[in-house]
Amino acid sequence: MPNHVLPLKERASQTAGPYVHIGLTPNWLGIRGVYPEDLGATMLTPDTPGERIVISGRVFDGAGAPVFDAVVEAWQADANGAFAPDPAPVGAPGPDFLGFGRCACDDKGGFRFETVKPGRVPAPDGGAQAPHVTLWIVARGINIGLHTRLYFEDEADANAEDPVLRRVPEFRRKTLVAKAAGPGHYVLDIRLQGEDETVFFDI
């Protein structure tokens, strides 16, 4: 039986397709002069407080091939665990940190964000979540955008009590935890399918 309680239904998703870059990262693609800068191309300003970090990784399909035409979006809290003001003040200069990034994958499926390490965000049960970045992946062949999260290997204590990670079967948690690859550099690969398939959320 259809649900007639709500007056409206969400519009059904359709794939972003192979030409997603025209709409989301036109400058990266070479379409110049329409927008001064691609949305989300820069997450930091000189005044952004917090520890500067780099997040990078690669996106792979079920055959282990790089998903070279994906776009990855990042959404995160600032270094104090706060999200940018909602709504954004009208006419005011942008915040020092919006917390939004967008990256077109390269030919090797690689993505990269220069950002700050997020602080701990409140959890619905009154506790605190471990520092994390929300990631959203779209591409040709992905019929509806995939939500996942990136946690940090060097936050073991916070990770152990994170209410979201705790719901993930233990053997799959590693798919959400970025490894420290050097000072301030964290690496997490995303596997759309197959062995070590990334945990994706229905939120």
Binding site: L6, P7, L8, K9, E10, R11, A12, S13, Q14, T15, A16, G17, P18, Y19, I22, G23, L24, P26, L29, G30, I31, G33, V34, Y35, L39, G40, D61, G62, E73, W75, A84, P85, D86, P87, V90, V121, P122, A123, G126, Q129, T134, W136, A139, R140, G141, I142, N143, I144, G145, R149, P163, V164, R167, R172, L192, Q193, G194, F200, D202, I203
Partner: protein, 239 residues
């Protein structure tokens, strides 16, 4: 706010739709892990009008070289962005991209023989007003062939990326045009099983709002996930 109404996954296309071959290796096999929203999903990036340039919502002119205009049937696409509860969504950022009137995308991986239009880039964006309303001007995109079946063609469509007020509402979809016989033949559209869901992705020709000697008008309303009611704030014993 306690969270969003759960996505109806039977209404959206499933991850794996074999007739759309690209989905075969790019569809997760594990079930999605259901998660009640936390502040990370109840918030989202908000964009102000200072982001927008004057031609961002005019694809006929925003890639103009030496003052030329894009070639093709001139159309206005407009509508309202709403939540499932019926409430309008003000200040929602919409980004759109499309092929030119000949069905050709300005993209290095495009293989269709149709000509590029030197004055058409194919991207635009706008923010909804206080009533959730949006509009933009463009040329009607052409249908185009794509390498899926030996001779598959996509119906004419415009891609939309929509930011609501929360990252949980993030949505990318495609808008089709009323009366196009190719909609029903398309393997990508065919991933949606409910015909009503396809109808809701189809813009309606609006003759009343057509601009004389300038542009046809198509209306397409966009619905994003809506918030759930908060009835009781109960906590489990022991918490």
């Amino acid at each position: 706010m306690s969270g969003f109404i759960a996505r109806d996954r039977l209404w959206h296309p499933p991850a794996l739709t074999p007739n759309y071959k690209s989905s075969l290796l790019r569809s997760p096999r594990h079930a999605l892990l259901s998660l009640d929203s936390t502040p990370s999903e109840l918030t989202g990036p908000r964009f102000g009008h200072s982001l927008l340039g004057p031609l961002d919502n005019d694809l006929i002119h925003n890639y103009s070289q030496d003052g030329g205009e894009a070639i093709g049937p001139r159309i206005i696409v407009y509508g309202q962005v709403l939540e499932e509860t019926g409430r309008p969504v003000p200040n929602a950022l919409l980004e759109f991209w499309q092929a030119n009137a000949g069905g050709r995308y300005r993209h290095r991986r495009e293989g269709y023989q149709a000509a590029l239009d030197p004055n058409f880039g194919g991207c635009g964006r706008t923010l909804t007003d206080e009533g959730g309303n949006y509009y933009f001007r463009t040329v009607k995109p052409g249908p185009y062939p794509w390498p899926n079946g030996v001779n598959d063609w996509r119906p004419a469509h415009i891609h939309f990326s929509i930011f609501g007020h929360a990252f949980a509402q993030r949505l990318i979809t495609q808008m089709y045009f009323e009366g196009d016989p190719m909609i029903a033949q398309c393997p990508i559209v065919g991933g949606i099983t409910d015909k009503a869901a396809v109808d809701q992705l189809t813009a309606k020709l609006d003759r009343l709002n057509t601009v004389p000697m300038d542009a046809l008008a198509y209306r397409w309303d966009i619905v994003l996930r809506g918030p759930r009611q908060t009835f009781f704030e109960n906590k489990r014993e022991g918490n």
